[in-house]
């Protein structure tokens, strides 16, 4: 079974114009405590952050709290954003650190490399598209959280290597290493990926 190919499309990452419009929202929040601007920015990130936090193994009942803690910081610290990075990098970075704190409080330890069971994951057969995503989802769940986040930020949210490094607060080479290991692990545990390796388009 091979993962179904989907034609690559432009990344969803906010481009310069999106970033500029979000910075305008932040400015309105900082200067005027503008509720509409705040609500709009919240809506821009709610689903993105919820998904990312779920991937980090943050408990379902804690996800809303982490999202709201993140936007509490956005509301109170909007005037302190200096614009050295993209606004999305700043906001997602806050959420990432809040989530790590949440996991520590809940005493949920991210999966460590040595605990990883390299037995291939298996899922019930079903519709191809759904099954492919189940394969991948199960594979991702078995990665250490740092590797999982590097993959999520790169592929699901479409960030550059430098942006991922800023969000995770680590060197660029560390991001490359995490992604290298994640790719190798996924290929070991996901037969569809392993099968594709020798079958270039």
């Amino acid at each position: 079974m091979a993962l179904k190919t989907i034609e690559t499309q432009p990344s969803r990452i906010p481009g310069p114009s999106t970033d500029a419009s979000e910075r305008e929202l932040l400015e309105r929040i900082a200067k005027h405590k503008d509720q509409v601007a705040f609500r709009t920015l919240y809506g821009n990130y709610y689903h993105r952050l919820s998904r990312l936090l779920a991937r980090m193994s943050v408990r379902r009942e804690d996800i809303e709290e982490v999202v709201n803690d993140t936007f509490w910081v956005v509301w109170t610290k909007a005037g302190e954003f200096r614009g050295a990075s993209q606004l999305s990098t700043w906001i997602i970075g806050i959420a990432y650190r809040r989530a790590l704190n949440c996991l520590r409080r809940a005493r949920i330890r991210p999966v460590a490399d040595h605990e990883f069971d390299e037995d291939s994951v298996s899922v019930e057969s079903g519709e191809e598209e759904e099954t492919n995503q189940q394969w991948l989802s199960l594979g991702l769940e078995r990665l250490p959280v740092e590797q999982r986040m590097a993959l999520e930020l790169t592929y699901t949210l479409g960030h550059s290597c430098e942006e991922v490094a800023a969000i995770l607060d680590c060197p660029v080479n560390t991001v490359k290493t995490r992604l290298f290991r994640a790719r190798e692990t996924l290929k070991r545990v996901l037969p569809p990926l392993a099968g594709m390796t020798g079958d270039p388009a």
């Binding site: 690559t8 503008d34 509720q35 509409v36 609500r39 919820s50 991948l136």
Partner: protein
């Protein structure tokens, strides 16, 4: 190309995810693409990573995404409402800032924005009303203290003395409430007095006050929930909700 870095293949291999997602910087993209063109192993890996990228992005965009815990607008609005209540509660404890220009946005144009516009008008009106009421309450309170002093001959009390019947513990249960625009000072005082409530902060952004239950009221078995349930039915109150303190 190979002279650019010692191990072109290894470095290109590391950068393939960003070639797949289109976020590789231009100066790197040029040489990585050139290497991939001549390297069968990298071409196969790039294809694999493009498929992982496509699958993960598709899952992320799906309304019922595999791991998205809640995907409806209702969930989003409910979560935002919780956050906004939290912000209002925090800011009601501080001196009331200038009202948010909630109608300043031009990018809303949605039901939410329109709702907020209506809310903003109401908030301004209510805030103005409760500020006037606040002054009245203060005057009334001072007058009540003087009356009480006169009745208790021989007992010397100052303005800052604590009325033992209205004493409020620091962590006492409390309710958040907004008074009806037409409520008079007398009606508000009667309501607070009957329910054993003391205003401890406000008005907040939405003209809301926080009122704590007196020690005597708590001793009688009342709770923030029971008091909120009662006063929410009072025509002089438009909003009442118990809050944790």
């Amino acid at each position: 190309m190979s002279s650019r870095i010692p191990d072109t293949h290894a470095e290109a291999w590391n950068l393939l995810p960003w070639l797949a997602n289109g976020r590789l910087q231009a100066n790197d993209r040029e040489w990585v693409e050139a290497h991939v063109h001549g390297c069968a192993e990298c071409r196969a890996e790039l294809e694999t990573q493009r498929q992982v990228f496509s699958q993960m992005r598709a899952a992320g965009e799906s309304p019922s995404g595999a791991v998205t815990p809640s995907g409806t607008v209702t969930d989003e609005q409910r979560s935002f409402d919780k956050l906004w209540s939290r912000i209002e509660a925090a800011e009601s404890a501080a001196p009331a800032p200038a009202l948010a220009p909630a109608v300043a946005g031009t990018d809303g144009g949605t039901a939410v924005a329109r709702g907020n516009t209506r809310t903003a008008r109401t908030v301004r009106w209510l805030a103005a009303a409760v500020i006037v009421q606040g002054f009245g309450l203060a005057l009334f309170g001072l007058n009540a203290l003087r009356t009480s002093d006169a009745a208790q001959a021989g007992e010397f009390r100052t303005v800052s003395s604590v009325d033992p019947h209205a004493a409020v513990l620091a962590d006492a249960p409390a309710v958040r409430l907004v008074f009806a625009p037409g409520a008079t000072i007398d009606q508000i005082n009667t309501l607070l007095s009957h329910q054993g409530l003391s205003i401890v902060s406000g008005p907040g952004l939405s003209g809301n006050f926080t009122a704590a239950l007196s020690a005597e009221t708590i001793a009688s078995g009342a709770s923030a929930e029971s008091v909120a349930a009662v006063i929410s039915k009072d025509p002089n109150v438009t909003f009442a909700q118990p809050i944790a303190r």
